[in-house]
Symmetry: C2
Subunit: 440 residues, 2 copies
Amino acid sequence: MTTDGVPERTGNNLDPWYANYAERASGLSASEVRALFAVASRPEVVSLAGGMPFVSALPQELIVSSMEKVMREQGPTALQYGSGQGIPELREQILDVMALEGIHGSVDNVVTSTGSQQALDLVTKLFIDPGDVILAEAPSYVGAIGVFRSYQANVVHVAMDDQGLIPEALRQTIAHLRGQGRRIKFLYTIPNFHNPAGVTLAAERRPEIIEICRQNEILILEDNPYGLLHFDEPAPDALRALDPEGVVYLGSFSKTLAPGFRVGWALAPHAVREKLILAAESAILSPSSFSQMVVSEYLATADWREQIDRFRGVYRERKDVMVEALGEHLPQLSWTNPNGGFYVWVTMPEMLDSKQMLPRAVKELVAYTPGTAFFADGRGRHAMRLSFCYPTTDQIRVGIRRLATVVNGELDLLDTFAGTGPLSLPPSPDFDSAPPSDLK
Amino acid sequence: MTTDGVPERTGNNLDPWYANYAERASGLSASEVRALFAVASRPEVVSLAGGMPFVSALPQELIVSSMEKVMREQGPTALQYGSGQGIPELREQILDVMALEGIHGSVDNVVTSTGSQQALDLVTKLFIDPGDVILAEAPSYVGAIGVFRSYQANVVHVAMDDQGLIPEALRQTIAHLRGQGRRIKFLYTIPNFHNPAGVTLAAERRPEIIEICRQNEILILEDNPYGLLHFDEPAPDALRALDPEGVVYLGSFSKTLAPGFRVGWALAPHAVREKLILAAESAILSPSSFSQMVVSEYLATADWREQIDRFRGVYRERKDVMVEALGEHLPQLSWTNPNGGFYVWVTMPEMLDSKQMLPRAVKELVAYTPGTAFFADGRGRHAMRLSFCYPTTDQIRVGIRRLATVVNGELDLLDTFAGTGPLSLPPSPDFDSAPPSDLK
């Protein structure tokens, strides 16, 4: 690793093109999550690692009939190239989806994309010169950190607590960076049911975050794939609802419908959206007409709000089981108790290392994502992300029991050799190393 | 425009984020082709502008039944995230497709993408630092020039004639650039049924091109969407067939099946393919499982070779009609007579400007793509690309008649005011301004 936490250029003499890669290619390295996909695919492993939605809960017949209808009524259009911005009908329907979170936008400013990941990539491509700073929560989405690195951004984390991003920490971080003459391009934030932290930005903090960014002329990139998947109260209104000009908003059908279509979107201020369309056309010409039309037909035909309610029920039950099992089997750890989304963030005593522990966990047939994946600066060693979205409740119970075997084995080992009990460690003030006080 | 032909940063005071864009964003400008999509969609206009395949010739029922089968037998897999490299079954089938052009690769080295455009984007992202040189034919594919600009490459054109890229011109261009200390990253080439030039790289030139690149350690990026759409003789073996380690090969189902699925691929040397997968995962996580599985099922079920034969028949007839109509109505112009693909490249007398003429053409209800779209350096003013892939033979006849009205009107006007006949102009030796000698 270089001093700023970016992996050094990989490659070797076996690659004749080694000397020819762009500098940015050095930011491409296999993430922990990627390596885990292979592990998680073995059926005997309970994977608490991935972020796969439980698509088996979908009304499959309705999706098939949506496809048939699209092909029967508009086959040649569905099979053809489309507009780079995406099909107008779907963009209209996306406005209805966003209205549920207080957003009132124009269909002109919606750009559909190959999953919201592509929109994230394109916004980064539009704004980031090498060395520019992107602010992100500590921890943050592993896939975003990967994109930011691939454009040679410096990701600077901002502390969060159980109420989400801390405004005062944001203010101080900006002042500190500005004092160093650094160029801050945007704040990347997941306000609702955070991946991986599982917390939600408090309603009263939202205007304050926006005001801080506005004063400092920092764009907000609001990533909200889980907003509609709340377990109790709906999430507060989106940041975009409060500030149409200062926010690029990213949405997705991957969690509320299905990721296999790769349909997401961005809602951007008009001038940004103009450039975003050009960037999208450059990258892929146009998103899949067929995928967009099937999603559109599904939205027109299905009671999609009720389907999202069904997903909520499934995920809430799984989250409850996971939190209960953690309390039963791993009471010496701390964890967040999310009100929505897919993830619980678990903090272990400081002497444990989740990445080093992973092979032992896989041997015990349970997988998770090590906390270091969610930091650009090497933090997160004694944290992990557990996802409850895909495994059944029974699998979750088994998985947590297996995880307890591994963690307790590690702690026993440390106890034996160090002669000091792990529970005597004082909690750290950092979110990475200690959970928010009232969550567990 | 700046001196190197790159448009200056667009934007204005109405965009509050104007000062925040990355430098590369200045390379994003609306292409001629993009503006024409809007025009071409008006039903009264005969569009000879776009590159839309004639998807109505597809066996629609078979595609519907492929979808149904995928959903019935593997619904949850089709709706889920997949691997970043693409599904193995499809990658195996892609080997069969490429074998038709003499390519023998490993399934491990195939990466599927959101259309081959995405693979083009990712390869460029992997290799290009700002200021690096990409060599490309003169003219070259407008969408590639757009991608290259978006990564701040300098595109340097290499002359071609009716046998394709000229080896001696390639050698001289490389020597000239090396003499200036420029860093050449790759040669981008469309060897078969070139877009827009309509010519094919002669078989005997292929080993020579490869040898020149090998000696100069220049990667070849071979873009071959049209290779199987030959009208008479099949195209010579692909460059990739002759040099597995020096070529990244791009293929697509957009022209042989349908662009609406957005399924293309890259076949790359092993080390490059490794980075390509990481870049793809960063950009979109994974390509659409559903799209890939439908294409895979179609390939397994349909007689896809016969379907490609049908496409060949349709396109050959349309090309014949276009060339015949050009001979009848516009004998004073020159054009290429392609042996496959989608496009005829038309060269007008030097005093005509195809971009300036376009509004008049649209008023006459015919559209084409001005030649300047296919050059990074402002050339191509008196050339245009006519596509015969989408309009019917009747529409092509009408379109060429309308085009003749416009061209002849322009020539009359010039004749009247200049007092000199347009046909007295000597032909230029440049491919851009004069056609290959034996083609018309």
